[in-house]
Structure formats: C-alpha cells, structure tokens
C-alpha cells in the first residue's frame, strides 16, 4: 500500500472516529427513543464511510459497495422495526422516555 493511500486512510480515519464519538454520545446521553435511533444512524454512517474508504484505499470498491448495499438494506429494516417499537411504546405509555417504560420490566 502506497504512502499517499495510507495518508488518505488516516485522514478519513480521524473523521470516522469523530463521527463514531458523536453517534455514541448521542445514544448514551439522550433519554428519547427517537434520538437514540438518530445516534445509532450516525454510528452506522461512520461504519459505512469506513468500509467505503477501506475499499477505495485497497482498490476493491466493488466489494466495498456490495457490503455497503447489504448494510443499507439491513439498516432500513432495523430502523423500520425500531420506529415501530418506539411508536408502540408511545401508544402504551404516552412517553418515549426509556426511563419511564416501567411495564417492560420482567
């Protein structure tokens, strides 16, 4: 791997780590199910960028795209189901604050 490719990967790596921190912070600090999902989405965006960047640097963009398309399909299914769960929780408890979802306790 050439030095310039490694440099590009490292530059992108810094921003990917910052994006991961932003998403994780949003997930840990928020007490709103929809905001937690938004944080999760940002985490997924960071992972997507990492895969595409790795594919570009290694010269395997086709493989990276195939993996990213799979990731996007799974992401949409997860988001639809998670949105449904958030709505279900709101209908039953009139809140989407996870601290108040007490009837989920086993």
């Amino acid at each position: 791997m050439s030095q310039s490719a490694l440099q590009l990967f490292c530059t992108f790596g810094i921003f990917i780590i910052l994006l991961l921190i932003t998403g994780a912070y949003c997930m840990f600090v928020s007490f709103n199910l929809i905001r937690v999902l938004i944080g999760f989405e940002i985490l997924i965006k960071a992972v997507t960028l990492l895969i595409i960047c790795a594919g570009y640097v290694c010269g395997r963009t086709a493989l990276a795209q195939a993996i990213v398309i799979t990731l996007i399909v799974i992401e949409i299914v997860v988001m639809v189901v998670a949105g449904g769960v958030a709505l279900w929780a709101y209908r039953h408890n009139k809140t989407i604050d996870p601290r108040k979802l007490s009837n989920l306790k086993g």
């Binding site: 938004i38 989405e41 997507t48 010269g59």
Partner: protein
C-alpha cells in the same frame, strides 16, 4: 491536492452537520440534519469511486429513513413551550461537553495519525469483478440474508401494529 481539499471540506461539513443533528432540540430539525448527513456522505462515497452505494445511501438513508422518522414523530405529541425551554436548558448542559471531546480527540488523533509510522500488509490483487457480478455471483448468500431480513422486518411491523381482537 485539490481533490484532498474538497474531501476535507466535505468531511468537515459531515462532522458539523452530525454535531448539529445531535445537539438541536427539535426532533424534526434532527431528522433534517440526519438527511443532510446522508446526502454529504453520499457525495463523499461518489468521490471515492462508489457510485452505486452513493445512490443507495442518497435514496434510502436520506429519503426513506427520513420519511420513517418524520412519520414516527408525527404520531407523537408536540411538547409545550414551557417544557421546551426546560429541555433546551437540560440539553445544553448535557451536550456542551461533546464539541470539547471532539476537538480534544481530533487534536490527539492528528498528532498520531497524520504522520503514520506503521504500514499495512500487502493485499492480494482484486479479481476485477463489478458490483453486480460480485453481488449476484460471489455474495449471493448476502442477498438471501437481505431477503430474510426484509421478511423479518415486515413480519415484525405487522405484529407490532396488530390490533387485538375483542
């Protein structure tokens, strides 16, 4: 050099929009921010020679997921102005650490990563297949997994919204 400058501008925009997405108080603004993040990410993907993934990202993540979030938010109740004021104060208290953490991490990483002292192992040459060939011939198990996931998602939503029989 020009290419790298454009990439850096896009990456800065990506981080700033992501930061705005998590820090803004209104959920609708957060969703718009998320769509913008996806749009900027798809431009970066296009610049990294991944046009098909960029189109997927733009149409699905920037479009469809925003629609799902907006629909979910529209079913919930709008909060009062008094509550909004209190929440804004709480949110500022919680989130002022985040830019500080990001800047500190960026400075720390710049010192270590911008002058890489390590090398990555040599790679086996790629087979030269296109995305479609790869998806349909080499990774057909992935496609099967995607179909199963889509079905599971559809069943999950049906079960979640099933009305109870009286």
């Amino acid at each position: 050099m020009v290419n790298m400058t454009i990439n850096l501008i896009l990456l800065f925009a990506l981080i700033l929009v992501a930061l705005w997405t998590v820090m803004t108080i209104r959920l609708i603004r957060s969703i718009v921010g998320l769509a913008l993040t996806s749009a900027i990410l798809s431009v970066i993907m296009y610049r990294l020679h991944s046009p098909l993934a960029a189109v997927f990202e733009l149409s699905v993540c920037s479009g469809l997921i925003s629609v799902i979030f907006v629909t979910t938010v529209s079913f919930t109740q709008r909060i009062s102005k008094e509550k909004l004021r209190i929440r804004r104060k709480e949110r500022l208290l919680k989130f002022w650490y985040l830019p500080v953490i990001l800047i500190a991490t960026a400075v720390m990483l710049c010192q270590h990563l911008l002058t890489p002292q390590f090398t990555l192992p040599l790679l086996v040459p790629a087979q030269g297949l296109g995305v479609r060939d790869l998806l349909w011939s080499c990774r057909h198990l992935d496609l099967l997994g995607q179909v199963v996931m889509l079905l599971a998602g559809a069943f999950g939503v049906v079960i979640l919204f099933k009305e109870s029989r009286k």
